[in-house]
């Protein structure tokens, strides 16, 4: 495989192609919308979704080669491309991958076809725009993961926002306008401070270099800031990422956005977009500002927020009447684990955080897909409207149970590996926080199983549910890869862990050594 990939010079072109293909796809869809304007609505709809699926499948297949071509043990960036973009300001199109971003890119590209299949029949209005926006969104998401130029990163970061805003606002539920606006403004406000920080970093870097630059590598290796500035810049970055993660108390956009978004929107939000926040911490906030990240006060603060998020998310999820909202709050809880793992800063916890990142993408994505499927049949998300449906939809019930168990973190599923690694690693540096976080295993079981019971178990009291039809082959087919991922990652996570291990280790070590290089005043400043 590796030989074949190098024979076609795969790593030289793959990243730009991955970014361009969905962009072309969007254009292609809009062209199709123009060309087929006279056709019957039904025919246009069918053609549009097929076209979209074809593009995303092509994207997924193309991206698969990354698994082999990216060698995690190599220290530098791989599949890197560096082109001038806006030379006057030193902004370059610099992209590249390491083990961490490679897994996230694969998560994105592999999930997107499933997302398309998940909204195969549910989206019938303005389909061309819908799929075009999804493609644009993919460009943004992949761009964030691969960018190695701060301005490019920021542009990609903001590109994501617009399609998602429109997807929620146009195809969403009843309160979609409120939710989409809230989502947009919340995230935007968070990222503006990051823009300021990026510009500051750029100017500092340009001062050092003598010509303008925003290169991540250059800033990482050459820009040395005084502790107070570092703290401020870290804060600006952290705010942007914390909103996206979302960390308590910046999480309130999430339940609204999740609930109102169409299925595809919810899945992408939960599975990929939330990961932008944690990825941002891993790629930017920690390595660029190690002294701030290692500052005991900052660390305690972040870990406290993470732990509050874990327990608080679980407790609030416990009492949600709306299943989507419940899952949204459970995301707050799960992402808290990621943050705990990141700021505990041990190799184990960092690896665990990455595992939870992937796992949450798989399990919560699957949960939202399932909710979408049952919503399409019953047009309600209220837990109280169901009950006893395992009798009529056994396939759905079985899959839902497995996915819920994965979300709870039952051993044998992927959820356990992530949570266990985070906790076992975090205990070394943050014992108290870890113990408090571990209580969420109880709450997680409580909210998930209680909801599961009220949906698929118990007596069937609602006559509307008696005619429910089980999942069809398309829906089963799209869940199967997710179920395989759940079990595979739970039983044999080693291949994935191997891919991220060197990068995680380098990160932890570099942050610790870099922080050791700039001691003293950082801690004083924060006290």
């Amino acid at each position: 495989m590796t030989a074949f990939l190098s024979s076609i010079n795969y790593s030289a072109w793959i990243v730009p192609v991955l970014l361009l293909l969905p962009a072309f796809g969007a254009v292609g869809l809009l062209a199709h919308a123009r060309l087929s304007a006279g056709d019957a609505a039904d025919k246009r709809w069918r053609e549009a979704r097929l076209l979209a699926l074809a593009f995303f499948v092509a994207e997924a297949i193309l991206s698969l080669g990354l698994w082999w071509s990216v060698d995690p043990a190599v220290a530098g960036w791989q599949a890197a491309v560096d082109l001038p973009w806006i030379p006057q300001w030193g902004i370059r199109f610099t992209v590249g991958l390491d083990g961490i971003s490679m897994t996230l890119v694969l998560l994105t590209t592999l999930l997107m076809p499933l997302v398309i299949l998940g909204s195969w029949t549910s989206i019938r209005s303005k389909v061309h725009s819908y799929y075009a926006l999804l493609m644009l969104l993919t460009v943004g998401m992949l761009g964030v993961f691969v960018s190695l130029d701060l301005v490019l990163f920021y542009v990609m970061w903001e590109i994501m926002l617009v399609p998602m805003y429109l997807i929620i606002g146009v195809w969403g539920g009843e309160r979609r306008l409120y939710a989409s606006l809230k989502f947009f403004i919340y995230t935007m406000v968070g990222s503006l401070l990051m823009l300021v920080a990026i510009l500051y970093l750029g100017s500092e870097a340009s001062r050092v270099l003598g010509s303008p630059t925003f290169s991540y590598d250059f800033i990482l290796n050459n820009v040395r800031l005084d502790p107070t500035t570092t703290l401020w810049l870290f804060g600006a970055f952290a705010l942007a990422f914390a909103v996206k993660v979302p960390m308590f108390p910046f999480h309130t956009w999430l339940p609204d956005a999740h609930v109102e978004a169409p299925t595809a929107g919810s899945v992408i939000l939960a599975a990929i977009m939330l990961k932008m926040g944690t990825f941002g911490f891993i790629r930017f906030a920690l390595p660029l500002f190690p002294s701030a990240a290692m500052n005991p006060a900052v660390r305690t603060f972040m870990v406290t927020l993470a732990v509050i998020g874990i327990v608080y998310g679980a407790l609030v999820a416990l009492v949600q009447p709306d299943f989507k909202k419940l899952v949204a709050y459970s995301s707050v809880s799960h992402l808290g684990f990621v943050m705990l793992g990141i700021f505990a800063l041990t190799v184990e916890s960092m690896q665990g955080a990455l595992m939870v990142t992937i796992n949450h993408g798989v399990s919560t994505g699957a949960l939202f897909l399932l909710i979408g499927m049952i919503y399409e049949r019953r047009h309600t998300r209220m837990i109280a409207d169901y009950g006893g449906i395992a009798k009529v939809v056994p396939i759905f019930a079985t899959i839902l149970t497995i996915v819920c168990l994965s979300s709870i973190g039952v051993p044998g599923t992927n959820g356990f590996i992530g949570e266990f690694l985070v906790l076992v690693g975090s205990y070394k540096t943050q014992p108290l926080a870890t113990i408090i976080a571990a209580t969420s295993v109880v709450f997680a079981a409580a909210y998930m199983l209680w909801a599961l019971q009220r949906i698929i178990y118990n007596p069937m009291t609602k006559p509307e549910n008696e005619g429910l039809k089980d999942l069809n082959w398309r829906e089963i087919g799209l869940m199967v890869p997710l179920l395989i991922a759940i079990l595979w990652l739970g039983v044999y996570p080693k291949p994935l862990l191997d891919k991220t291990e060197p990068a995680a280790r380098r990160l932890v070590e570099s942050v610790q050594t870099a922080a050791a290089r700039t001691p003293a005043r950082a801690t004083n400043g924060a006290r």
Partner: protein
């Protein structure tokens, strides 16, 4: 399947024997699960139409309205896959048991100093944590494997009869096979995380099987409760693992034990780890304060109660402590806690058992009580006694549960025949069943005498050994030297001994009560139903007979030296010596626990006297003839009421913990903090603020150009003034 690589343990004497196939042990039930699970899905699934959003299909509606009240026992026909499932379900278990026996024989044939460890693959190789999926086969896990597969096989066979008419037949066997798979992972796992996989896996199966008839809320509730309460324990287990990894730097049994032995004796670290581990055990093995799920777990099918909630899963806690013997032996205070909680649980559950009417509830509290005994044993460092009681208890309690299952089966059949809806598990509706089901009757008496501790039945040996161990350790052990909350360990051990005796008395009483009310006296089932009462088919009574025989002779596993005349002394002691011997000796300060012959005789005498007294008291005091059927019974008063309602502990937990948690979450956290303060005040508040400022600005805009000119001019003057006067 990959054949395990040649690890350093490859040189182990077992590596050349059949034991190298140990990975096949859990794989067999897993295979059974996969096949049965597939069949279960094929049996019920009806794949939906391509476009799910189309309107409701009238046919489907009609088809399902009939399926509303098809309660398991009312379904008329056997499942269409019943044949193949009946073959595969118990079949894989028989194969596994055969393999286990073969391993056992292989093990007896070699001299084993170290456990046999098979590394399957690298599981979580992360940082310093180098977790592999390893199986550890040693004397302790061998005992457990034999119990799990042996008793498991019997119960599988029994289930073929018990569940034959259930529409969820393949699903049932799928769950049961999955349970055995996880149970084997639990006992074979070579490190704590892998044990934890099994630990939670069996909890999951327990959850699925308790809620097997999920259409009734009570069943689904019970399953959920079991899982959540277990998770509280699992929290403790997890924290214990974190502590081990952070302080001992390892998570596999061998290294943990080695490192633990280097810890300071009675130090904080060892004690903390042990206490957290014990929290896990308290959850899984239903000890105070986490015992509440086990009685509710009786909502599952009765063979499940026998297998999971009596014989195997609930004893996992005992296994865990025996497995961590070295760790516990370094923490006498934690040992005292374990023993004391065990003693209290034994006593407390026994009192509740005195007044239960549901035949399975009596057995459930009896199980809790007996588990308490086991914890007393492993708590005082008598690990062999604990495992011994675990084994005998597996025999007689499985027998009791299966017997009660047989009774319930008969009762159900009778009620079903006359279309009467009444409680088939309430002893007040039974009575005089000896006439109708004699085989069950005699076998259950054997089990009752065994659990009561009548000499030469299996329970007598194990219970006596436990009580004797407690008594012996009251002097001259690390426990006696330690203290708990200022109370010296010796005093506590004597208290535990007292509790054990009292529980033994009550055990004899409530078990006799159960037998009297169920099998003796007049029949209260009802005139119409009486002709339909009959013995269960042989597929069900067969396993009962085997278990009856085991309950009779199980005690010969570990005959005390005192009774050396009747058979080989201390077989189990010798067998388990390589695993727990060192730890046990550390507790008893290096010497074998020594008692004079007279003391030992006296102890045995007391135990026998108490068991006999209990049975005699029950026979003398209880009048089955005076009992009325459930529907005619009057509500009890005073202490009876408290006992019958289990001290209102469930209600207390509900009022004290569950409801406040929900209320705080809903009112304070969600409505108050989340939507109120964060979202309302900060998020929407800032939006409101912006809007308010905008509104104020819009009020300035009158549309009158004149006004604007004035404002402009005032601004100009101000600016000019600023230039002028600066």
């Amino acid at each position: 399947m990959m054949i395990p690589a040649m690890t350093p343990e490859g040189a182990h004497p077992l590596a050349t024997t059949v034991a190298r196939l140990v990975w096949l042990l859990p794989l067999l039930p897993l295979l059974g699960f996969l096949i049965n699970g597939t069949l279960a899905m094929l049996g019920v699934a009806k794949v939906g139409p391509a476009d799910p959003s189309a309107g409701h299909d009238e046919h489907a509606h009609a088809a399902h309205t009939g399926g509303h009240d098809d309660h398991a026992h009312h379904a008329p026909t056997r499942h269409k896959f019943a044949g193949i499932v009946s073959l595969i379900g118990p079949g894989v278990l028989i194969a596994a048991f055969g393999l286990a026996v073969a391993c056992f024989l292989a093990m007896r044939g070699v001299e084993m100093e170290h456990p046999y460890i098979v590394t399957l693959y690298q599981w979580m190789p992360v940082g310093d944590l180098n977790l592999a999926a390893t199986f550890q086969l040693d004397q302790l896990s061998m005992v457990m494997v034999l119990v799990v597969t042996g008793v498991g096989t019997l119960i599988h066979v029994f289930s073929v009869g018990y569940m034959q008419e259930d529409p969820g037949y393949p699903r049932y066997f799928a769950y049961l096979n999955l349970f055995i798979f996880f149970m084997l992972i639990l006992v074979l796992g070579g490190n704590y995380p892998l044990l934890f996989v099994g630990w939670e896996g069996v909890g999951l199966c327990s959850y699925l099987l308790i809620g097997f008839w999920f259409s009734e809320k009570a069943n689904a509730d019970a399953g959920k409760k079991a899982f959540i309460v277990n998770r509280i324990g699992d929290f403790g287990f997890l924290v214990a693992m974190f502590l081990m990894f952070a302080n001992l730097g390892a998570l596999d049994f061998g290294n943990v034990a080695a490192k633990a032995a280097e810890l300071p004796m009675g130090g904080v670290m060892a004690t903390t780890i042990c206490l957290f581990l014990f929290l896990g055990c308290a959850g899984k093995s239903a000890q105070i304060p986490l015992y509440v799920w086990l009685p509710d777990a009786m909502a599952g099918p009765t063979p499940v109660s026998a297998l999971i909630h009596a014989a195997t899963m609930v004893t996992a806690g005992v296994y865990l402590i025996a497995r961590s013997a070295t760790l516990f032996s370094m923490a006498p205070t934690a040992q005292l806690v374990v023993a004391l909680v065990g003693g209290l649980t034994a006593f407390f559950a026994a009192t509740i058992g005195l007044k239960q009417w549901d035949i399975k509830k009596v057995l459930a509290y009896s199980t809790v009580s007996q588990l308490g005994y086991m914890f007393v044993a492993v708590g005082v460092g008598a690990y062999v006694a604990g495992i011994f009681h675990l084994v005998t208890h597996a025999f007689f309690k499985a027998l009791l549960f299966l017997g009660s299952g047989s009774v319930i089966y008969a009762m159900h059949a009778a009620y079903h025949a006359t279309h009467k809806h009444d409680d088939a598990q309430d002893m007040r509706n039974m009575g005089g069943l000896r006439k109708f089901m004699p085989v069950t009757f005699y076998l259950m008496w054997i089990a009752t005498l065994a659990i009561a501790g009548i000499p030469f039945f299996s329970g007598f040996f194990s219970k006596d050994e436990i009580l004797g161990s407690v008594f012996a350790r009251a002097h001259g052990s690390t426990l006696a030297d330690a203290s708990l909350l200022g109370v010296p360990g010796g005093t506590i051990l004597m208290l535990i001994y007292g509790l054990g005796l009292a529980s033994a008395l009550m055990t004899a009483i409530y078990m006799t009560r159960m037998m009297l009310y169920t099998f003796h006296g007049p029949n209260r089932t009802g005139e119409a139903e009486r002709p339909h009462l009959a013995e269960a088919p042989w597929i069900m009574t067969g396993p009962l007979v085997v278990l009856g025989a085991l309950s009779l002779v199980g005690g010969w596993l570990n005959v005390p030296a005192l009774l050396g005349a009747i058979g080989p002394v201390g077989v189990l002691d010798h067998w388990l010596e390589p695993v727990v011997g060192e730890a046990a000796l550390r507790t008893t300060l290096g010497a074998a626990p020594h008692m004079t012959h007279e003391t030992e005789l006296m102890l045995v005498g007391v135990a026998i006297a108490i068991a006999t007294a209990g049975i005699a008291f029950a026979v003398w005091r209880l009048k089955p003839a005076a009992l009325v059927a459930k529907k005619d019974a009057v509500a009890p008063q005073g202490i009876d009421r408290i006992l019958e309602n289990k001290y209102f502990v469930d209600e207390g937990y509900d009022k004290g913990i569950v409801q406040p948690t929900l209320d705080v979450s809903r009112v304070v956290l969600w409505k108050g903090l989340d939507t109120g303060i964060i979202d309302g005040l900060f998020v929407n508040g800032s939006a409101l603020l912006a809007r308010a400022i905008g509104w104020m600005g819009s009020q300035l805009q009158t549309g009158q150009v004149g006004t604007y000119a004035w404002v402009l001019l005032i601004g100009v003057i101000t600016l000019l003034g600023a230039f002028t006067f600066r």
